[in-house]
């Protein structure tokens, strides 16, 4: 059995090299600084920051979150401080962290996506971009970018042409065939895929007969969505040649390993950060222990090792 020190956790997402496969999921880790008290940020594979837009966004009215069985619905509405404030106020801190910084971003129009990507690409210390296409498109009646293959292709290729940074595309799971969308993203030039974003859902208060969220619907995350996410990672990994970052309900190293086996090259931890703010470090430790107990020397051997 290999000794602990021979365990290799390094993974590669396109050109992006990570010291281990554990990243944070966008929107669940703020801009990193709030978590420094709970976890040594230098131990993380990467920090993915809250979704950014060109201009600051106020987001949706409250209530914005509600718990559901083994999960939560959120309708934050992409509230964020905007790219300029992010660069000025948050990047100085993130630049000092010995981890990769991945900027998650979105826009209301293709032009906004392109401008956001260009702006973020020029910032020292940002190692990769993750584009969130699970948001509404102003130019086509607010239909989600990531649900129409033609629009998906268009917006990804436009961004692809405006950045040299590794480009990760975060897919919307609210489609009939996600593996088709994965192919579209690969064809449009994505270097990697992140999946899954939250599943569209709703909850109603039976006393008042009102929706529990002011926005009526919201995105479901947490352990409740894990089986769906695993299935989607597995399906997509068979259809594309680019690496997949798996997420959705990971709350333990066992969950993370399940994603890796199903076909993910790396994983992201989301809702679990709210429950245990130090969970990311625990998960890294757990993956290491699993490898050492199974005699696995490189984490890459686990990725896609599913037997079926």
């Amino acid at each position: 059995m290999p000794k602990k020190k021979n365990i290799d956790l390094k993974v590669q997402i396109g050109k992006l090299k990570l010291k281990n496969p554990v990243m944070t999921a966008s929107g669940t880790f703020g801009y990193g600084d709030e978590y420094a008290e709970f976890v040594d940020l230098n131990t993380l594979g990467a920090i993915v920051v809250k979704g950014l837009s060109l201009k600051p966004k106020q987001g949706n009215p409250p209530p914005r979150i509600v718990e559901t069985p083994s999960g939560m619905l959120n309708a934050i509405g992409l509230q964020n401080i905007g790219i300029n404030s992010f660069i000025k106020k948050k990047m100085p801190f993130l630049r000092e962290c010995k981890t990769r910084v991945i900027a998650n971003f979105f826009g209301d129009t293709i032009d906004e996506y392109v401008k956001a990507a260009e702006k973020l690409s020029s910032v020292n210390g940002i190692d990769a971009l993750e584009m969130n296409i699970s948001c509404p498109n102003k130019q086509s009646g607010w239909i989600i970018f990531g649900t129409d293959p033609k629009v998906t292709y268009k917006v990804i290729s436009a961004v692809r042409n405006s950045t040299n940074l590794p480009l990760i595309v975060k897919l919307s799971p609210n489609v009939t065939d996600i593996s088709h969308m994965a192919r579209v993203a690969e064809d449009a030039g994505a270097d990697a895929l992140s999946l899954i974003n939250t599943l569209s859902g709703m909850a109603v208060d039976i006393q008042t007969r009102k929706p529990k969220l002011a926005n009526i619907t919201g995105g479901l995350s947490g352990p409740a969505i894990k089986p769906v996410a695993i299935r989607m990672v597995w399906e997509c990994s068979k259809k594309v040649n680019i690496p997949i970052i798996g997420m959705g309900g990971i709350i333990s190293s066992d969950d993370a390993i399940e994603f890796l086996i199903a076909g993910a090259s790396a994983v992201a931890i989301g809702t679990a950060n709210f429950i245990h703010p130090g969970i990311t470090a625990e998960i890294i430790k757990g993956i290491r222990n699993y490898m050492s107990s199974k005699g696995i020397s490189s984490v890459k051997e686990i990725s896609g090792s599913i037997k079926c």
């Binding site: 669940t28 106020q58 987001g59 509600v66 718990e67 999960g71 934050i76 709210f274 245990h276």
Partner: protein, 258 residues
């Protein structure tokens, strides 16, 4: 100091119907909470309930702390079943508490229902300032801590919705009557309040009418408690603010009501 810690249940006592007082003993030394601060408590280790639940600090006694809570759903039900010796995962203290009152101000404490939990901790902190307390509940049976307030030297002015104790009606009207009769200029008063949203809303109208300054503790559904999920915002004059970070205590004039 790390704000995640384990605490064992010292006592979990039913006070009145559905209302409990839990005393917790942290396994490590923790930061002393301020009145208005809160803790996020994992009521169980399973996946449902999933998120920690927020509770205001009620009392701090020699390194132990107490929470006063009402059973309203799954999480608080589980909490009410905890026995001495059970260990809970906790995060805190969190949020901005009530600021200390300026010198020469007459403090008016306003509590509605379980809002009395943090208001009591404020009262304890400033008992030498002879604060006034206006306290409203549904009925006599749901009144809490009356003796404890008296032992701080505070004689509560009480109202109940059904008139079973004190004045019948809502406590904001009682406060209003007090203010119309009193002799101090309004700038001498400062309000500290916690209670149901309808009460705080009514209080904010009163504050505008009488040009009163003060602070109110807000509530909102929470996931992280540390400012990262952006789930707990309230509308303020300066845009959305997070109850867990910029709050739970806000200057009364800052909140925008629907």
């Amino acid at each position: 100091m790390n704000r995640t810690f384990k605490a064992s249940v010292v006592e979990n006592k039913k006070l009145i119907n559905n209302h409990y007082l839990i005393t917790l003993n942290p396994a490590v030394k923790i930061r002393k909470p301020k009145p208005g601060n809160f803790f996020m408590v994992a009521v169980d280790t399973g996946l449902d309930p999933l998120l920690k639940r927020p509770f205001s600090v009620h009392r701090w006694i020699d390194g132990n702390f107490q929470l006063l809570y009402r059973v309203v759903g799954k999480g608080t039900k589980i909490l009410s079943e905890k026995k001495p010796g059970n260990v809970l995962d906790i995060l805190g203290p969190l949020g901005k508490g009530f600021p200390a009152p300026k010198k020469n101000r007459q403090v008016i404490l306003v509590a509605g229902g379980l809002g009395v939990a943090p208001v009591f901790s404020m009262a304890e902190n400033i008992k030498n300032r002879a604060p006034l307390l206006f306290y409203g509940t549904k009925t006599k049976k749901s009144l809490l801590l009356i003796d404890e307030f008296r032992s701080l030297g505070i004689d509560p002015t009480v109202s109940t919705d059904d008139g079973s104790f004190g004045t019948k009606g809502n406590i904001i009207n009682v406060l209003k009557r007090y203010l119309t009769r009193n002799s101090l200029p309004v700038t001498r008063y400062v309000l500290y309040a916690c209670g149901p949203e309808v009460m705080l809303h009514a209080l904010s109208h009163l504050a505008t009418e009488y040009k009163l300054k003060g602070y109110i503790a807000m509530e909102q559904n929470m996931a992280c408690g540390i400012g990262t999920c952006l789930g707990c915002v309230v509308k303020t004059r300066k845009g959305h603010k997070r109850v867990c970070k910029e709050g739970p205590v806000f200057p009364i004039e800052e909140i925008v009501w629907d």
